[in-house]
Amino acid sequence: MAKKRFAFVIEIERCIDCKACMVSCSVENNVPVGHHRNWVDQIGPKGTFPVLGMSFEPGNCNHCGNPPCERVCPTGATYRRDDGLVMIDQDKCIGCKYCIEACPYDARYLNEETGVTDKCSACVHRIYNGEEPACVATCVGNARHFGDINDLQSEVSRLLATNDYYRMYKEAGTQPAIYYIFKGGRKI
């Protein structure tokens, strides 16, 4: 069996900006007040009245294939697992914040309570128990999907096979693993 490569697939047109993913993530992962591991960005409004458009672009850690945060970590605390998830070894992290600077997605924050950096873990404690990550499970519009893109039968693989998609800042060489489906590509 091929190596796992976990990825998120997000259907932009299904997102209604309810931010339930942010709330469920904070509850699930005990994220300190003032920080978030995921977010919903607003794109637009664009056009001129009466021809207007606006959409929402949810995001979180891209679990990059070539993570800039891992590269700059001076203690090896940030590492990439075989299944594609980028994780932080809380014992090794010294809180130097270099990875926060290095991340083009601003996906990381310093947890002031523990003094170490934190970010989306793709709810690694849930996904191997047959559950979806909290943000995916809670998404009311069914915009968020998660799965193994190396498994050709998975929901995410089927979505990617039949839709056009973009990945954010892939020009930075990060090989991000959030695939955004938006009919006709990213628009602003």
Partner: protein, 326 residues
């Protein structure tokens, strides 16, 4: 988008202090190597300064950590892709060498005060430490100066690579930041020596000494100018991310600090003063120098400029952001 600054004034100070140490050490080593007796005051003062600013700086670094007590994790690993990890080791060796170099420069009476535990002495074969002959001390200074020189360059240049290695921050993400920080580090080191010599030993400063300090610093400042010009041009002419980033100092929030603090006060004014001093000595044969203490002014301005440069770069980099192609 609001900007949260993760690296603040502690980091600015650290980069600045490490630069002064690197510059003082390199200046001292060079002065000792080329000049012998003639430039001895410069070499001595540089050796006295070198270990201490960087030690204060690394202490500041510890306070900046989210978990300062976990700092030892840096010393149990080498991460080749992380400039911070490489820098940790460079700093360790640099501080050790500059401390030993400092001790060799101490007058014999003071050197004898330094007590090393006997067991460590035997281990390091330092049992003759306090009874070194003049010749051994002279050779030791040359060896340590030569050994430490690449480390001082390393400390000077790594501070810039630390910032430059981050594609997510286009203001930093150019190789010129590393060069700029290196020359600025060397310049602040020379400036510190110039400042202290002019402030406390004005009557003793010989014209050869003045020539060396002023000409070396003027050359370093010129290098800085020839890096800042292409830095701005390349940022302007590069991708959208870079073009947007450079606006921070071209009309944006740090414009004043950059153009007044770095360019005018830190570069143009001290450069003019140093060239004026050199002109007075070389052309006018006016060896006593201007009635105003120009070395004091240019030394202080170079230091202010070096600090402001780091302030501008640390904050501007964090404001700048990688932007998508749309």
């Amino acid at each position: 988008m609001t900007h949260e600054f993760h690296w603040g004034v502690l980091i600015v100070n650290y980069l600045f202090l490490a630069g002064i140490s690197a510059g003082s050490f390199a200046t001292s080593g060079l002065a000792n190597y080329v000049g012998g007796k003639k430039y001895e005051p410069i070499a001595r003062l540089g050796a006295y300064i070198a270990p201490f600013p960087v030690m204060i700086g690394t202490l500041l670094l510890l306070f900046d950590l989210g978990r300062p007590l976990n700092f030892w994790r840096l010393f149990v690993t080498v991460q080749w892709t992380s400039p911070m990890s490489i820098g940790t080791w460079l700093l360790t060796f640099f501080i050790a060498i500059s401390l030993a170099y400092f001790v060799l420069w101490l007058p014999v009476s003071l050197r004898n005060f330094i007590r090393i535990p006997h067991r460590l002495k035997d281990l390091l074969r330092l049992s003759r430490w306090t009874r070194l002959t003049e010749e051994e001390v002279r050779r030791g200074k040359l060896v340590l100066g030569g050994l430490g020189f690449p480390f001082s360059i390393g400390v000077g240049i790594y501070t810039g690579i630390l910032l430059g290695a981050v594609p997510a921050r286009p203001f930093w993400n150019t190789p010129m930041v590393a060069q700029l920080f290196l020359f600025s580090a060397m310049s602040t080191g020379v400036g510190t020596i110039l400042l202290i010599r002019s402030l406390f030993f004005r009557r003793e400063v010989s014209h050869q000494e003045k020539m060396l300090l002023n000409s070396v610093d003027a050359a370093l400042i010129l290098f800085e100018i020839f890096l800042i010009i292409p830095f701005i041009l390349h940022q302007r002419l590069s991708t959208w991310s870079h073009a947007e980033a450079i606006k921070i100092i071209m009309g944006g929030s740090l414009t004043f600090y950059f153009w007044i603090g770095v360019i005018l006060l830190g570069i143009l004014v001290p450069l003019s003063l140093e060239i004026y001093e050199l002109w007075q000595i070389v052309v006018k044969k006016h060896l006593t120098g201007h009635r105003l203490n120009l070395g004091l002014i240019s030394g202080a301005l170079v230091i202010i400029g070096g600090f402001t440069l780091r302030y501008v770069f640390v904050y501007a980099g964090q404001i700048s952001h990688f932007l998508p192609v749309r």
